[in-house]
Structure formats: C-alpha cells, structure tokens
Symmetry: C2
Subunit: 117 residues, 2 copies
C-alpha cells in the first residue's frame, strides 16, 4: 500500500489509470450510473471495477449510494477543482505564448493594411 | 515497474508525489535550477532526488541540460497543459455553482434597492 500524505496525492493517483478516468468522464456526462452500467464497457471483471471505484471513493471523486440491490455512483468533482487550482500557476506559460501569437497576428495584419494603402 | 499506456497516465503519476510537485512549483518560479539547488530544501538524499527527476523527465515535465559538471533543469509545462485540458470538462460543475451564487447576490442587491425606495 502506498501512503498518501496529501489530498492532492490521492487525487492525482486516482487519475493515473485510464479506466478510472473513463469512469469519471462517463459520470461527467451521465450524472449517475449503476456499478454494472459503469462496468459494462470495460474488458475487465466486476471485482476489478469495484477496486477502481474504491480508489475513486478514497480520493473523494465519487459517492456511492445503495437502494435495494442497486448501488448508484455519482461524481464528486471538488478534488478535480483543487487539482486544477494547483495546475493553474502554469497557465501563464501557454497564455504567454498565446499573447506572443496574438501580437504576431496583429503585426501581420497591420503590415497587410499598410501595403494596401 | 508500472506500465503506462497513455501520456496522461505518466503526467498524473508524476504529479502524485509532493516532492515532485514541489520541484515543479520551484521551476515555475525560478525558470531553471541546478540539481543540487533543487535538492537542497529536501530532507532526502541526492540519489532520491535524481529518481524523482527521472520520473519528471519520463513524463516530459522537465528538460535537463549539462554544461561542464552542472546539470540545469528546466520546466516543460506542455503535459500539465494537456492534463488541464482533460480536467476542463468538469469546470461546468463549479461554474454552475458560481452562477447560482451570482444570481443570489443579484437578487439580494435588487431586494436591498427596493427597500431603500
């Protein structure tokens, strides 16, 4: 067992696996789904899906509620929001290159206008 | 060894560890740093730091260049950009609650104005 020290550790660890990302992406589109419906598209057995759901649950990325024999899974997006907050500091790198691109486009446009006169 | 199938797997796996996140955060602030400078704040030995740098390098999150005996480490933010792109689909969840908050604030303001009349 890996020992996670911070909530972000758990969030990013939950997002490492493409099956878990696919489950989250589906819950984004469908609001809620039963475990068997979530498991259906994957070529893995139900216990493996259950393990993935445990990881997502531990990271606070889903909630599970039981009614009779059906377990309904829902997205809990807050940890993703926190992960995005952490990542936002890097945004300046690509917005900077977008700024440069915009400046270049404006310069080109101005040059074209000059030539036309 | 874990086998990562997709670039996003590697990016999120690199971000799981708080030491690696701290290294990336420092490279965001300082543009570039030598390995010994990067290792200085941590209570772990240099080989452990080197291992973390290998993981970051494999994920394409840093570049290393050597001049004489000094290795300079730089941030490569593109994979973080791609990870944020993946996360962006969840933004509507919190922007929705921000919309609700804005609507509530507007309603309160309108009520206050009415009372003043």
């Amino acid at each position: 067992m890996v020992n996670y020290r911070e909530p972000l550790d758990r969030t990013f660890a939950a997002l490492v696996d493409p099956t878990r990302r696919a489950i989250l992406a589906r819950l984004e589109r469908e609001d809620s789904a039963s475990i068997s419906a979530l498991a259906a598209p994957f070529a893995i057995k139900l216990p493996a899906v259950m393990k993935h759901l445990d990881v997502l649950d531990d990271a606070g990325l889903i909630t599970r509620s039981k009614a009779g024999r059906t377990v309904t899974v829902r997205l809990r997006p807050e940890p993703i929001r926190e992960a995005m907050e952490w990542m936002r500091r890097y945004e300046r790198f690509w917005s900077k290159s977008l700024d440069r691109l915009a400046a270049y486009a404006e310069r080109k446009e101005a040059e074209t206008r000059k030539k036309r006169r």
